[in-house]
């Protein structure tokens, strides 16, 4: 009888541990600090990195170092490769993306330009955007099916730009959302446009194929100044709060699970985090205050 119950206990333990592993797998937000990207090609420290773009195909990381008016590329080990400042023309790049043809779209904040760069054709073209005579203040970009999606900081709305048409021709905003406060960050994930509302209380997902939208209310955490977000493979939501100096993790249903990161000067700590990106099995935190990009991995 005693042996029987011992066996049962062992079976139960195995079953429970399998279940625990399964849960862990679903909420696999256990990122660990790996290394930091902090120097340029001349072995000098970065000045004021603002955002990054990761090209998984060619394994490149591109960093916008706004105060030094330059973009720097790195390989996946964090080794600096090349710097680009358009022969001294680039002014305060705060955000960039690379389209499938390899061309760059850069937001030059100091002159409020959306700048197109074709490195192969040596083309450098600035666009000062307006929509119905309103000046747009580009803050973030996303690319999908030959369209550029631009987050305008002046209105908090997303503008769609056909890259050949040059001018914005459509606005994306939630159809029926009470007290909508505008967006602070946008990203294309899983063929859908995800947008974080100012204040970080709601995440709106636009399915542009089906023309539907879904709203996630992020509950259980008091955010102060969320500036960026991303989604992992399990649809967990990661929210970067600049004032709290933390990443808040929410379940796919929008329930707060945990938070990590800590204020400080040392590697893995942040002072003024400005951007968050999850790509592959890595999580990148751009820290403007410490002038580096902390890379976290599973």
């Amino acid at each position: 009888m005693c042996r029987m119950s011992q066996k049962l206990l062992i079976i139960l333990t195995i079953f429970l541990s399998c279940f625990a592993i399964k849960i862990e797998d679903v909420f696999s937000y256990k990122f660990h600090y790996q290394f930091s990207i902090l120097k340029d090609t001349y072995d000098n420290y970065l000045s004021q990195p603002f955002s990054i773009f990761v090209d998984n195909q060619i394994e490149r990381i591109y960093v916008c170092d706004a105060a030094e008016n330059r973009l720097i590329s790195y390989d996946f080990t964090g080794t600096p490769l090349k710097e680009f400042d358009a022969a001294g023309q680039l002014k305060g790049p705060i955000f960039m993306i690379k389209d499938p043809s390899g061309c760059l779209w850069i937001i030059e904040r100091s002159i409020n330009s959306l700048t197109f760069v074709d490195l192969k054709a040596k083309k450098f073209q600035r666009r000062f955007l307006k929509y119905k005579n309103h000046i747009l203040l580009p803050a973030k970009l996303a690319y999908w099916k030959d369209y550029l999606f631009l987050l305008d900081q002046m209105s908090g709305l997303i503008y769609v730009i056909d890259k050949n048409l040059i001018t914005p021709n459509k606005i994306i905003k939630p159809k029926k959302l009470k007290d909508f406060k505008g967006f602070i960050d946008i990203k294309f994930r899983k063929n859908k446009l995800w947008a974080l509302e100012n204040g970080g209380k709601r995440l709106i997902v636009f399915d542009l194929n089906k023309k539907t939208e879904q709203i996630f209310n992020l509950k259980g955490a008091n955010t102060v100044l969320p500036v960026s977000f991303d989604i992992d493979n399990h649809n967990n939501i990661y929210l970067l709060d600049r004032d709290l100096k933390k990443i808040l993790v929410f379940s796919p249903e929008g329930i707060f699970r945990k938070s990590f990161l800590k204020e400080g000067f040392r590697m893995g700590q942040v002072l003024y985090p400005s951007y968050l990106l999850i790509s592959g099995s890595r999580l990148y935190v751009v820290d403007e205050g410490n002038g580096r990009i902390d890379v976290w991995g599973f």
Binding site: G92, R109, S110, I135, M154, S155, G156, F265, G291
Partner: protein, 394 residues
């Protein structure tokens, strides 16, 4: 008839000196003169209960002053449960309440003033808030004039630093002021949005206690200049204030698109204000309505920068390339006032790098003007902890 007379006399005696008849504090009052505790208009409830003095005091010995059963605030909270809950939950607390100094405003036994206040509300409030007594202006708000501070303010908690009685300012105003024809005529038929945007709640030199500085079109009564425009967005303001557009072309800026149709109105009033830049409130109130952590930090710090409440002294209101929208880098912004330190101090500048992150050392590498628990607003103790962060060998 005699019986009625007796009942009348008894009840007269009973109600005029109820305390003596109800309270069984005789033993205490043999030494402690009852007059001191009982002869005033308002008497603290525990004295009137069966237990009397022993509700709060031990008769023989106590570790607390005045043989109190508990330390001051704990004792008060043992009955005043709501205040205890508010104390734990609320962010904005009146200073004496926050410091657990109930007896700064209240007396513990009896008082001639309601809520066992030490003094008349007018004298009590203005004994600390002296700034409201100087530079009195021509037109005064009635409750302020009469010293009825508690008509609008809560003496313990609030929804912001003003500690107002209501969340909505307008519902507070309309608890006295009626939204009638006269009101609507004065406001061109429009509903009030936020009374305190235009009216000063205490005093002004203008009729209707309107704030002192006027937006030019408002002063010239050219309402249509703004109100006839179809486009009410930020572009409306930027039509005239074109030079302001460039102030948003910084890495960090307050272009708060989406918060309101016209994001300028998040901070500025389109009609009147207390300063030239027509801010809706003082930075102390306006800024922390969003940056609540800054307020928390101040409240939890022993040392804060003396000009901390005027945020725009160091921070740019519209935009800056520096983190926290500082008006300069960590040295420039401080050395505007601290001139000596700007020239002679711990080595600073682009050639002196912080070993922890490789960034140039500035004043704010070691100091945190927003508030810390260390002298000179140092980030860590200046005795050693702060220095060894970099100087490992020491």
């Amino acid at each position: 008839m005699r019986v009625f007379l007796l009942i009348f006399l008894f009840s007269l005696f009973y109600y005029t000196s109820p305390v003596i008849s109800k309270v069984d504090n005789k033993t205490c009052f043999q030494c402690h003169k009852s007059k001191i505790y009982l002869d005033k208009k308002y008497i603290h409830k525990p004295i009137l209960t069966k237990k009397g003095c022993l509700e709060c005091h031990f008769p023989h010995a106590s570790k607390n002053e005045k043989l109190l059963k508990e330390s001051n605030i704990k004792l008060c909270f043992s009955c005043h449960k709501k205040l205890e809950n508010d104390f734990k939950k609320r962010l904005f607390l009146h200073e004496p309440y926050k410091e657990k100094a109930c007896l700064r405003c209240h007396v513990s036994h009896s008082s001639n003033y309601k809520y066992l206040l030490k003094d008349d509300v007018y004298d009590l409030c203005f004994s600390c808030h002296k700034n409201l007594l100087v530079n009195r202006k021509k037109f005064l708000h009635k409750p302020y004039k009469e010293g009825k501070c508690l008509s609008c303010h809560n003496p313990h908690i609030g929804y912001d630093v003003r500690l107002l009685n209501e969340v909505s300012i307008n519902s507070l105003c309309f608890s006295c002021h009626k939204e009638d024809k006269k009101f609507l005529n004065a406001h061109l038929g429009r509903d009030a949005t936020n009374c305190l945007e235009c009216h000063d709640p205490h005093m002004s030199n203008n009729k209707f206690i309107l704030k002192d500085f006027e937006h030019k079109p408002f002063a010239e009564q050219k309402c249509n200049l703004c109100h006839s425009q179809k486009d009410k967005s930020t572009a409306l303001c930027l039509k005239c204030h074109q030079d302001i557009t460039d102030t948003f072309y910084y890495f960090h800026n307050h272009s708060l698109g989406g918060y309101q149709e016209n994001s300028c109105l998040v901070c500025h009033s389109p009609h009147v204000g207390n300063t030239k830049i027509l801010l809706k409130s003082s930075p102390k109130i306006l800024c922390i309505s969003c940056h609540s952590l800054a307020y928390k930090q101040k409240e939890n710090s022993l040392y804060v920068h003396p000009k901390r409440d005027n945020c725009i002294e160091c921070h740019s209101g519209h935009g800056s390339n520096n983190p926290s929208m500082l008006k300069g880098d960590g040295n420039q912004v401080c050395s505007r006032c601290h001139k000596t330190q700007g020239k002679f101090s711990h080595p600073i500048g682009n050639k002196v790098l912080d070993p922890r992150n490789g960034k140039p050392i500035t004043c704010i590498t070691c100091h945190e003007p927003m508030g810390t628990n260390f002298k000179y607003e140092l980030k860590l103790s200046g005795e050693a902890t702060l220095c060894v962060e970099c100087h490992k060998n020491y």
